[in-house]
Amino acid sequence: MSVALHWFRTQRPTILIPKLVAFGLIVFGLLYVLSIATIPGVDGSTSWRTTTFGSAIHDPSSFLRVVLDSITFAGALFIVASGFALIFGLMRVVNMAHGSFYLLAGYIAYEIQQAMTGQGFSLDGSQVNTWEWLVPLLVAAPCIAVVGLVIQQAFLRWNQGQELRQALITIGISVIIADQIIAHFPRAASNGTQRFGGNAVDLTWPGWTDRFVNLHVGGVQYSLARLVMLAIGVGVGVGLWLWLYRTKTGMVIRAGVDDEKMTSALGINIQKTFAIAFVIGSALAALGAVVWASQSNIAQGTDGQWLLNSLVVVIVGGMGSIFGAAAGAILYAFVLNFSASYLPTTGSDCCTQYSPIFTFVLIALVLAFRPQGLFGRGG
């Protein structure tokens, strides 16, 4: 108790008030989901606490499903954002073209999958086998890795340390890539109206994932494809951890994050390490694109969406840390999914999505407590 009182007394009022408001909001949000929310009355009546599923206590299986949606989406978020975080953490390069890499990878994989199956436009799960999903991935990821490497070598290598300039350069490159995607993708659609212009297309998961598995918890049947997505995300996380913490290259990268000049002075070729990190980071954007485009879709504008996703994950989780990216991805995914499923739905306001506002609230809450993000170091 005295510790709490001491903390309370030592806070500056300008910081204390936002912190108290933030704390109150978090508590209210949790209580709302747990017990305040209700389903519409039998006569269809609604109030400020009417939601689709009602409270978690009232409908645990829907609650569990939203939790699973959040965790599996966090898997896809982590794959993309960890690439962004890796590049930022090591080189302090804010790669504003990360979203463009994502979109380009998605379209490349789509073209390959279409060419392999020869079906045209939208595919059914039964028309795709495992190879017809893996090969597009194995082509798209190296393509994007090469694109990333070329951009890094041509535009970023010689002005290392000038962060603003590098960010501006990648913004310019993202504009060019976005415009060229509109001009050249998608190509495969047989119907003339759907060719080019960055129209929405989707990849297709292999057929064997297209079923629901019984989790034996609250009678929840859950999509196998989404569980596979989570498994890939966890695999990427474990792989990155092993690579960064159990290999020599990883050791060099961590040393480079801490002190680039000192690492270089020890005779280590830091430029080679930078190039490797950029290749892996770009390839992760491609992997994430293939995974999430199989679940959802890609279109013109998806690049901005995924640049936002990467930025939010990194800002929330802490700049340039793999653990931060994982924590940020999970928090952000929960906020997105719960604000979509557990907000009041009233008649006249049926179609409003408030999730962007809650994304802002999440950023504001985290930055109010920790300006450097949850796992960030320093200020």
Partner: protein, 360 residues
């Protein structure tokens, strides 16, 4: 005001500025090209105001903000909701509160400034490249929020706002020259206001915060507070630009504040130069001239023959943007400054302010 005491550079700059000012003042009155006055020049004025809010933050606060387009659009959406009445042709979205346009104008400016203060307060303890990232998320979030909160805007946005101007401005649809002179007057006022503000104690402290936040903090200045106030002021400027924009175009939609538009404003500021206020209008002018005359230009192999997306404007603007950042990161004004001996690069100062020290 003794031109003999000025350096050659000052004489040239002030002479050119005076010439340009006289030209834009007499342009509509002299009956010169209405396309230029009602498209290119008027767009230069209000996009220049928005760009000046970005350059004010970067040149004097060391903060490169990508949220200015969002604030620009938020002001437009607020005045659209407050001033319009629905009525004839009123199929567009919005609350249609039908307030007096003058009151709506004041409320829109005040609310946008308040939102700017909130945005600034959240980002104020982060600096440099983090600030760029955080403000970019504001911008993208604002786009989605406007698109998805159907009551206030929705994806189709609000239309017909130019029919609701204050009585003291009058009908700008039939008399577009009125809007031209209003926009010109506001642009000049914004320029004078910024030049005045940076000489006040607040402006000087802000420049101290830009150059060395740690030292300013140890001297007892509240660094986050100064950053927040500067951000609020820039939101005020952006709101003026946004209101002029909706009066000019009549409509505002999420598409006017989306990521490409955000980048366009940044491109204007960078073309002009992120380190001098004058660059705002220079960059806006260059951008809009390119936009109007290069829009339909096709680069062989880089564009395709579709009707809707013909031309490769964004590719061209992207290439120009990258070229400017590579050759002269402080833009056209930086190039100009380097023509004269003894020029000091404002870019260095800005680059230092936006550099993140590695965590120790």
């Amino acid at each position: 005001l003794n031109p003999r005491g000025w350096t050659t550079k000052q004489q040239l700059e002030r002479g050119l500025a005076l010439g340009a000012l006289i030209l834009v003042v007499v342009w509509p009155a002299a009956g010169l090209s209405a396309y230029w006055s009602h498209q290119i020049l008027i767009e230069t004025f209000f996009y220049g105001i928005a760009a000046s809010s970005l350059i004010f933050l970067s040149a004097y606060g060391g903060m490169v903000s990508l949220a200015q387009t969002a604030l620009f659009g938020i002001a437009g959406v607020i005045i659209g909701n407050l001033a319009t009445t629905g009525g004839p042709g009123g199929t567009s979205k919005g609350l249609h509160l039908g307030w007096d346009p003058t009151v709506a104008l004041i409320v829109a400016v005040v609310m946008t400034t308040a939102i700017g203060l909130l945005f600034g307060a959240v980002a104020a303890r982060s600096a440099g490249i983090y600030f760029l990232m955080i403000t970019l998320t504001y911008s993208v979030i604002a786009t989605y929020a406007l698109g998805q909160v159907t009551k206030i805007s929705g994806f189709s946005g609000i239309g017909g706002i130019n029919r609701y101007t204050p009585g003291w401005i009058g009908n700008i649809i039939d008399h577009p020259n009125r809007l031209y002179y209003v926009a010109l007057g506001v642009a000049i006022a914004v320029y004078v206001l910024i030049r005045y503000l940076v000489r006040t104690p607040f402006g000087l402290t802000l420049q101290g915060v830009r150059d060395d936040p740690v030292r300013m903090a140890s001297l007892g200045y509240d660094v986050p507070l100064h950053r927040t106030m500067a951000f609020g002021f820039s939101a005020f400027l952006a709101s003026l630009g946004g209101i002029l924009y909706v009066w000019w175009s009549g409509q505002i939609a999420p598409g006017n504040v989306d990521l490409p538009e955000t980048i366009n404003l940044l491109v204007m500021a960078v073309i002009g130069g992120l380190v001098r206020i004058e660059g705002a209008w220079l960059g806006a002018f260059a951008f809009i001239v390119i936009q109007n005359y290069v829009r339909d230009f096709k680069v062989p192999g880089l564009s395709f023959g579709g009707t809707l997306f013909g031309g490769s404007f964004n590719t061209i603007i992207g290439i120009i943007f990258v070229a400017i950042v590579l050759v002269s990161p402080d833009g056209l004004l930086g190039l100009w400054g380097r023509l004269f001996p003894g020029a000091r690069s404002g870019w260095r100062r800005l680059a230092r302010a936006t550099t993140v020290e590695p965590a120790k």
